[in-house]
């Protein structure tokens, strides 16, 4: 049985790692080498020039800066909104609470693509095209966080909340001192999902960004591909690797916290 388990493990790892390996390797290959038949597993000759080509042909630094600005702001706003509205939905009693929550969940069900045209109309009429505001604001409100965090908050043991109230902890202080410390793994997971999601946004920034001033990486890098021409995939893959690295680093850092958080808020017996 154990052997089968390990085989399954190896298979899954291979399924994930082989494509990643090929992206990295292709980014170091020359054009004929990429298309050689049979395919080569090791670049020969090595072509680190692909990376400098990316840096030279497109405004990589500007795209990276834009991506960071957009992703960081969006993540902070989405997580803050998500946590706070979820806290209210979970612990505040107010009229039409469930009905309102249903509305929020309903917003989750509406696919992004449907609202794009009306969002575009609004943003354009506000004069927000080709600005960070125009890219960020319509993406900032997402029901997913409220939904995920509320359900988590409801699963927290009531006794702790009651104890906090007995000690006279205020409502907001309860959030910071009691609820959140017990919720770090979920918050971190939510943050990670948001980060990756926003980092990879394509359609909306593409519609709103007209020039390099606000273009994020995924949109900017399409410039390496060419229509009716000849696409050299080496630099395209180099761009892909460069785009992946920052988010990978963030992931590794946050992942540690996620595991720490699993044990941090436990009830001491």
């Amino acid at each position: 049985m154990k052997v089968i388990g390990y085989l399954g493990l190896a298979l899954v790892v291979a399924m994930i790692l082989v494509p990643v390996y090929f992206i990295v390797v292709t980014s170091l290959k020359t054009q004929p080498d990429i298309y050689s038949d049979p395919l080569t597993w090791i670049p020969n000759p090595l072509q680190p020039g692909n990376y400098s080509y990316v840096m030279e042909t497109v405004n990589f630094g500007t795209y990276l800066r834009n991506s960071i600005i957009i992703t960081v702001i969006l993540t902070v706003v989405q997580v803050a909104l998500g946590v706070m509205s979820a806290y209210a939905f979970a612990f505040l009693r107010f009229p039409f609470r469930n009905a309102l929550f249903l509305v929020v969940v309903a917003a989750l069900m509406v696919p992004n693509q449907i609202t794009i045209i009306s969002n575009y109309a609004l943003v354009a009429s506000l004069g927000w095209r080709n600005t960070f505001v125009g890219i960020i604001v319509p993406l900032a409100g997402v029901a997913f966080g409220a939904f995920l965090m509320r359900n988590h908050f409801l699963s927290l043991p009531k006794e702790i909340m009651e104890a906090a109230r007995m000690d006279g902890t205020s409502f907001l202080r309860t959030l910071w001192r009691v609820v959140l410390p017990m919720s770090w793994p979920t918050v971190v997971a939510f943050t990670l999902i948001t980060l990756v999601n926003e980092w990879n946004q394509y359609l909306w920034p593409f519609l709103i960004a007209d020039t390099d001033v606000v273009t994020p990486l995924p949109v900017g890098l399409t410039r390496l591909q060419q229509n009716e021409g000849l696409t050299n995939w080496g630099p395209v893959m180099a761009g892909t690797v460069l785009t992946t690295v920052p988010i990978l680093i963030v992931y590794l850092i946050l992942q540690k916290r996620m595991i720490k958080g699993l044990t941090a808020g436990a009830v001491k017996g």
């Binding site: 054009q31 004929p32 990429i34 298309y35 050689s36 038949d37 909104l81 706070m84 509205s85 806290y87 209210a88 939905f89 505040l92 107010f94 309102l100 509305v103 929020v104 917003a107 509406v110 609202t115 794009i116 045209i117 009306s118 969002n119 575009y120 109309a121 609004l122 354009a124 009429s125 004069g127 095209r129 604001v137 319509p138 993406l139 900032a140 409100g141 997402v142 029901a143 409220a146 205020s170 409502f171 907001l172 593409f206 519609l207 960004a209 007209d210 020039t211 390099d212 273009t215 399409t222 410039r223 591909q225 060419q226 229509n227 009716e228 021409g229 000849l230 696409t231 050299n232 995939w233």
Partner: protein, 436 residues
């Protein structure tokens, strides 16, 4: 517990943000097309381009020249997307949301729908007002943008289909290294030799359906006597059209024709003897290929190739003043000098008649006979495209998908073509007929 009320407020704010993202009211939409005098501009001409044939640098060079001459009316180059479809998408969003550009790149497939829905402006009066001599454009290229007696575009990055042949492999197969097959039947005879000479690799690479196989196949279907449509009537089920489809499917099955997403690269590294591609690929291939190659006409009988590529159009919703300025700028981009600069950098065809008489261009064409092939073929071997592909919404993608099915998918040609026939007829009835 004072904070409860505050929290309610916060929750409200959160909901409001959700509402903005979730479902903004349509009240602001749709104003662009109908607004009376048209949108005023910001004093800059916005040119939305997808830089066909990787031409961003050349475009910018031409713009710089314009800006030097017209410091009061500068042009801004806007990245409109990775391909013609993305640019169309972005323009559609602008049509709904306002804030229109001054000049857009419109491809053979997208211009007609924009014109039909009055999203782009007829140019004839503007030409008169701006003093543009439209007769100086190559006639067939200009007439590609005619609808109902008016013109809705100016030829810009115009191409035809071309065949590229690896001369080393032609020689190895014992064939003349300076000409392509004269007919598709001759190609079928050549193919086994070419496959053998190149170690079993396909004799001809063609891009797949999502990369405009429908465009490349169009010339082939004509040589069999078939077509996608006759004017507005779909013609897929004509026995001759089906014969052409069957030929394509059989050649693919036999390994004579290879179909790939990125056919250029396969050919460029010697993965096939020949390539069926746009003239726009010439620039890139000349740089990348490590072997000598020639370009030839597509096999006859004539016409065996179609024109394609993109033109420039002007949105209808902008003010008359902006339209006039845009007309002048388009005239500048496509003037004799600039069309020469642009086409030499990309491989597209010069769009002005007198460009080929320019001494500098003459010298260039003598030096690079591969670029000459397209220009000569334009006069001898091309015809305008079938309505079913370029005028009926989604036509190109629909036919491309069908061709993928009969080749890569191995499905029955007759069935697929019948389906194309009925789908095309349905879309025509729904989207076109009421507007004509």
């Amino acid at each position: 517990m004072i904070s409860r009320r505050n929290l309610l407020g916060l929750a409200g704010a959160g909901l409001a943000a959700t509402a903005i993202a979730g479902c903004t009211g349509g009240s602001t939409g749709g104003a662009a097309a109908s607004s009376g005098g048209g949108q005023k501009g910001s004093g800059t001409i916005q040119w939305w381009s997808n830089h066909p044939g990787s031409s961003k640098e050349v475009e910018q060079k031409i713009i710089d020249a314009w800006n030097a001459e017209n410091p009061n009316l500068p042009v801004q180059l806007v990245d409109g997307g990775a391909n013609y479809e993305e640019l169309g998408q972005k323009f559609n969003a602008a049509l709904a949301g306002g804030d229109l550009p001054d000049v857009i790149v419109a491809s053979d497939v997208t211009w007609f729908n924009f014109a039909l829905n009055e999203a782009t402006a007829p140019l004839d009066d503007l030409w008169k007002e701006a003093g543009v001599d439209a007769s100086s454009y190559v006639d067939t290229l200009r007439e590609d943008y005619a609808y109902d007696g008016k013109h809705y575009g100016v030829p810009f990055a115009r191409s035809t289909t071309l065949m590229y042949w690896n001369q080393d492999i032609l020689a190895k197969a014992g064939l003349a290294a300076d000409k392509g097959p004269q007919s598709w039947a001759e190609f079928a005879e050549w193919a086994p030799k070419l496959v053998e000479a190149n170690g079993g690799k396909p004799a001809l690479m063609v891009p797949d359906g999502s990369n405009y196989l429908d465009w490349y196949f169009q010339g082939m279907i004509w040589t069999f006597g078939g077509s996608y449509s006759k004017e507005w009537t779909p013609n897929f089920t004509d026995p001759k059209s089906i014969e052409a489809g069957t030929f394509l499917a059989e050649q693919f099955k036999a390994g004579h024709i290879g179909i790939a997403k990125d056919a250029n690269n396969t050919f460029g590294i010697g993965g096939s003897a020949g390539l069926l591609q746009s003239t726009g690929s010439l620039g890139g291939l000349t740089k990348a290929a490590q072997f000598p190659f020639i370009t030839t006409y597509l096999p006859g009988p004539k016409p065996g190739a179609c024109t394609g590529g993109a033109g420039l159009a002007i949105p209808n919703g902008i003010s008359d003043e902006r339209k006039l300025n845009a007309t002048k700028f388009i005239d500048f981009v496509t003037n004799t000098k600039n069309t020469i600069t642009f086409t030499q950098a990309t491989g597209y065809m010069p769009v002005r008649k007198d460009a080929v008489d320019d001494p500098e261009e003459k010298a260039y064409l003598e030096k690079t006979p591969n670029a000459m092939t397209a220009i000569k073929q334009l006069a001898e071997n091309t015809a305008p495209q079938d309505y079913a592909r370029v005028f009926i919404p989604g036509g190109g993608a629909r036919i491309g998908g069908g061709l993928d099915k009969i080749t890569i998918g191995g499905q029955d040609v007759e069935q697929v073509f019948e389906q194309l026939q009925s789908e095309t007829a349905t879309v025509y009835k729904r989207d076109i007929e009421p507007l004509l």
